[in-house]
Each structure stands twice: as C-alpha cells, then as structure tokens.
C-alpha cells in the first residue's frame, strides 16, 4: 500500500518469523470457545437462575437495579430523573445552571412513551450528541449478562457518550434481553448482524470507578457515579 512501506516489511518479518519451529504447547487442543466449551472444560460453572444471579451481581458491582412492570416503569423513571435534577439544583451536581441541564434520552419510540409524562427537561439524541451539562443519560441496551451483572450498550443505543458523559446513566431493559453469559451476548449481536453495523459496543459493569489512590475504591471517576438499570419482567 502506498504511503505505508512498512506494511509489507512487517508482514514479511512476521511470515519469516513464523517459519521457526513453534514452541511446545501445553497440550490443550483448541476447543470452540462457546459457553458449552467453557462449561465442558470446567472453566465456568453453569448458571441455574439467570435473574437471581443478575440481581446478586448488580448488588456487588453497585448497579442500582429496579425490577419493574409495564405499569410502574414510566413513573419510576420520571421519579429518578426528577430526583437527579433536584440534586443538581441543590448544588450537589456540577454547579451548572439547571436551565441548561437536561436528561439526554435516546430517541426511541419505547423511551418516548416512557418519559411522556416526566417533568424533567428532556433532550432527544436525534437533536445531537449529549452535553457535559446534561444530568442524566437514558438509553436502551443490546443485552444484559447475568454472570457479571453487566449491560451491553452500543452506538445505536443513544450513541457513544450517552452512557458515559452524564453523571447518571439509566438503562431501560426487559427480561428477554437477559442472557446468562458473555458468549451468549456475543452470539446475539453476531447473529443479528448488529456487531457489523455499529462502530462501538461497550459492556458496562457498574458505575465508573478507580482505585488508583492507595488502592481505595472511589465511585464516579470519569464516567457516571450512578448506573441504574430498570428491568421489566
């Protein structure tokens, strides 16, 4: 390729290098790395009750999980947003004027229906990317993973920054999105072709954190301080 003379050189070096006798392996034959493979090899223990595991893991990783029904889901979401906005007004937030602060919501029919009656000011993802002053990001998800209590989002669920720039991230999900393992989640996005038509996917496990100072765990490093998952049964 013109402009990158090293490309052919590096490839040649790699090919020449690989003709050397390969090192002895540990004798393990390649096994298809599907969940079955990880179970069969005794690497992971199977999960019996995905929902129970998901709840337990969220507790551990400090995700605020609410099991909802189609009746109370909208009210719960509106309450959450109003409280978050109130916290901002009383100065707990970033000190931005509350007039400029919005809940940034993924523009999807489902979420339009949910926030219909909310008092908190809403900015839709269809109007542009989120702002630093937004007090919450509300998105859908691609999948939920029981083993680690994680949520998989993508550039198609509200964009790249919606789930990491605002101090609060609320994810609206339903029980059919819950899979037991990461491999199942990968299967889903690969078989649906989703993985090829987004530029970014991210598996989120709890709110942003750091322990770079004396190994002390601090929540809310650069990303959200709170991660709330609404899971409709």
């Amino acid at each position: 390729m013109s402009g990158n003379p090293s490309r052919e050189r590096v490839l040649e070096l790699i090919r020449a290098a690989l003709t050397a006798r390969p090192p002895q392996t540990n004798g393990l034959n390649r096994v298809p790395n599907r969940v079955v493979g990880l179970y069969a090899l005794g690497i992971l223990a199977p999960i019996e009750d995905s929902l129970a595991r998901f709840c337990a893991e969220c507790e551990v990783n400090r995700t605020e999980l609410h099991l909802t029904t189609s009746e109370n889901e909208a009210a719960l979401l509106c309450d959450l947003l109003s409280q978050a906005q109130l916290a901002l007004k009383s100065g707990v937030g970033s000190g931005q004027s509350e007039n400029e602060s919005h809940a940034y919501v993924q523009d999807a029919p489902e979420l339009r229906r949910l926030v219909e009656g909310c008092k908190a000011p809403i900015r839709w993802s269809s109007t542009g990317p989120p702002l630093e002053s937004d007090f919450a990001g509300v998105t859908l998800a691609e999948a939920l993973v029981a083993r680690t209590g994680s949520v998989l989002v993508s550039a198609r669920t509200g964009g790249r920054a919606a789930s990491v720039l605002p101090p609060l991230h609320v994810v609206c999900t339903q029980i059919s999105q819950l899979v037991s393992d990461l491999s199942d989640a990968f299967d889903r996005v690969q078989s649906s072709g989703r993985v090829r038509d987004v530029s970014m996917l991210s598996l989120i496990t709890g709110p942003s954190r750091t322990s770079d100072i004396e190994k002390m765990l601090v929540m809310g490093a650069h990303g959200p301080r709170r991660l709330v998952i609404l899971l409709r049964r």
Binding site: A17, A20, L182, S199, P207, G220
Partner: protein, 482 residues
Amino acid sequence: MTRGERSFHRVSARASQDLPQQQIVRESLLTYGRALDAGRERFASWQRARDLCHAIKAEAVADLDAHLLRFEEKVQARGGQVFWAGNAAEAREYILGVAQRAGVRLVIKSKSMVSEEVHLTAALEAAGIETLETDLGEFIVQLRHEPPYHIVTPAMHLRRQQIAELFQRELHTPPGAESAEELTAAARQSLRGKFVNADMGITGANFLIADEGLVAITENEGNARLTSSLPRIHVVLTGIEKILPRLADLALFWPVLATAATGQPISCYNSLIGGPRRADEVDGPEQFHVVLLDNGRTNVLADAERRDVMYCIRCGACLNVCPVFHTIGGHAYGATYQGPIGSVLMPLLRGMEEFGHLSYASSLCGACTEICPVEIDLHHHLIHIRRDVAQRRLRPAGERRGLGLWRWAASDARRFERAGNLLRRLLRYKNAAMPEGSRFDPLRPWTRYRALTPPAAESFRQWWRREHSARTFHASKETGHT
C-alpha cells in the same frame, strides 16, 4: 557496565532501603492479593482458564499475519485506517502527521503502555501539541513528571497526602481536600473541560479482534470511553501481538484479564470499537486510525523458544507477586515495562546490550510463572536471557573472571574444599583489617546494609567426615561387628 545498569544499581540500592516506600507498595499489593484470591475462586477452574488462554494466544500468534490482515480488512471496511509501523519513530511520525494535518491543538490520552514505549507524549509536546493523560494514576505521574511506577497502577508508590499536596500545587485544590474521593473529584473536574475540547484522543488496545475487526479496550474509570467518543479523531496505538482470532474469545479473556489485573470479576468498561462514527450514529469521531507497531516484536516471534512472551496481556500480575519488584520498586528498572515481564521483554525488544542486566533482577522463585494468566514461562526466560548475556560476554570483565575462577574451583572436589577453607580463613581475618561495612571492606555492597553471617568453624565436608565416621563407629558397635 552500561549507564542503564549503573542507574539500575543506584536506584535499586536506594529503593531497597526505603522502608516507608516499600510499606505503601506492600499495603497496596496486600489489597490486590486478597482480591485476586477471591477473583480466582469465581472460576470453576482457574488453571483450566489459564490453559485455554495460553492455547488461544498460541493459535492467534501462530497465524499472526493472516489475523492481522483480516483485522485490517474489517477496519478499513468500516471506514477506519490502519497503519503499520516498523519502529517507534514511524509510529510517532504517523500520529504526529495525522494531528498536524487536522490542526490538532489538544490531545487526550487514555492509558497505553505502547505510547510510553514509543515516547509519544514527548513527541507531541515537542510539536507544540498539549497532551494530557486522563487515567487517574497516569494523570498523577504526568503532573509529577515521572514515568509510571507500574504498568497497571502507575501511582502505586504514592501516599494520599503526597497526591493531595501535588493537586494543591498544580490544580489549586483546597488544602483540606485529602480523601481519595475529593482527590478523584478534583482530577475529574480538571479533566472534564479537556475531554470536551480535545481534538484528538489516543488510546491503546487490550485486544484486536480479527474476525470482526474490533479494538477491545478495558478500563474502570470511563476515560478511555470519553477519549474514544468525544474528540473528532481517535487513534489506537497498539502492538501487533494483541490479536485474538474471534470475538467469542473475549468471553474468556475479559474476565481473566480483570481477575489477574485487579481481582475484579470483570472490569467496569469493556469497549469494542470498529471504526469512525457512522452516518446513522449520533456521535463519535470522524477519523479512526489504528497503528500496528512492530518495534522488535517480530524478533521475539522469530525466536521459537521465546514466542510465548508475545502472549502477554499486560495484566501486571507478575509484578504484583514479584519479591524483587516489592523491594526495588517500579522505577529501578528504568524501563517501559517493569517487573518479571519487563525484565524479559526489554532485553528482547531493545537488546541484550542495553537491558540484559534486568534478567538478573529476579530471585528465580517462579512466582511470576505461577501467576501468569497466559502461562508464560517467565522465570525460565530470565535464566535463558542470562545465558545469552553470558555467552555474548556482556558482563563486566571482573565478574566474568570471578565466575571463571569459581567454575575452576567448583569443578573438582578437592579444589573446592581447599578454596572453601581458604575463603573461610580469609573472611575471619578480613574483619580485623577491614571493618565490616566500612569503606575499606571489599564486600561493602553487601555489608553496607547487612551483617555477614560469620563463617562456620568447619566446612560441610569436614563436618560430614567427622559425623559420618563417628556414626559408622557407633552403628558397627551396636550390631556387634568390628
């Protein structure tokens, strides 16, 4: 002796006496150790997870060229650009070129050891482009103008109060702000504006996924996600060995990396990025570049005996369990990669002449090999590098002559005994003439800080002969034989 080795001796001598410093590191590593134990318990079998990781990495590296080409094709299909850099200079020039063509004035970086390896920040700063680290630990050491102490925990060596003072001076935080929460909030506050205003974001990569053409980035803070979301250009700088054949492999590697690195079941953010923002997406960079760096890696690959060094996933576990790292700390190595993996990688990537001495910074206890999640035979590699260093006659002449003398003495039983007797006698008389630990003591490098065990009155052989003959005598009397 090279300048690097002299500096290694100087810094490690100082660090091994600095007990308060070691205390900080030890406390931190105790926390890590507890989390690691709990983390490994979460696997039905941690050992089998390691076996499979090793097998998958072996598979990935055995077909490295094919996997890289597949990765490149997929990234290009999504509108990303892939640049192959043979060495550090090519990588720096390419990234600088991208920045200058786009009129970049502010660059934000998330943690990348490869960018340390090619000294990227210095190159960008020299061109007048402000470049900021955003990982909290990296941000702290950048403010202190020092290199990372540890590949995973860059500010492991600092007390909270030291960071508080640093922030008061550099970020003008109020004097009372000393809790980890307040300090983290101060860093967050100070970097927020930078994230929003930066023109270019630079990240590393933990894995490159060949079958889908994705870059996998693991982190806890969210800074890598912001770095790859907000600026209009995203550059990934990574080594060619980070490849994994399939997306599904991450179902194993993400939990294994998190467990080995911090003891977490999985890290907070595991992101997959395949290209620039698509037309139907609300945000994301306009340009996406992946720089694939060789910089000596193909030399390691060509060495079949050491190919498994290329399986490393940079989890830092071998540093955390290394008694030498505990004692001399991360800065003594004078290297991008510290600890056992650094002592193997640096000589192989940068040459035996410059870094061969690091292979001696090990007690060969094997704790590194035992912990390594991809089963790299680290302590044997260290021994083999020592062999190569010796064969190339890279050690100082005095040391070589001394060892030659030792070999001569030790290769004959009688010579060995006589030499031992002579040495014991010499040691007994030495202290009278040359007080232990004083400037005149030839053993000063050791005795300066430690007392020398006094030599035994007799050699083991003498003792054995005495004991053994006495025993035989008693035994033969008891059984009635003469």
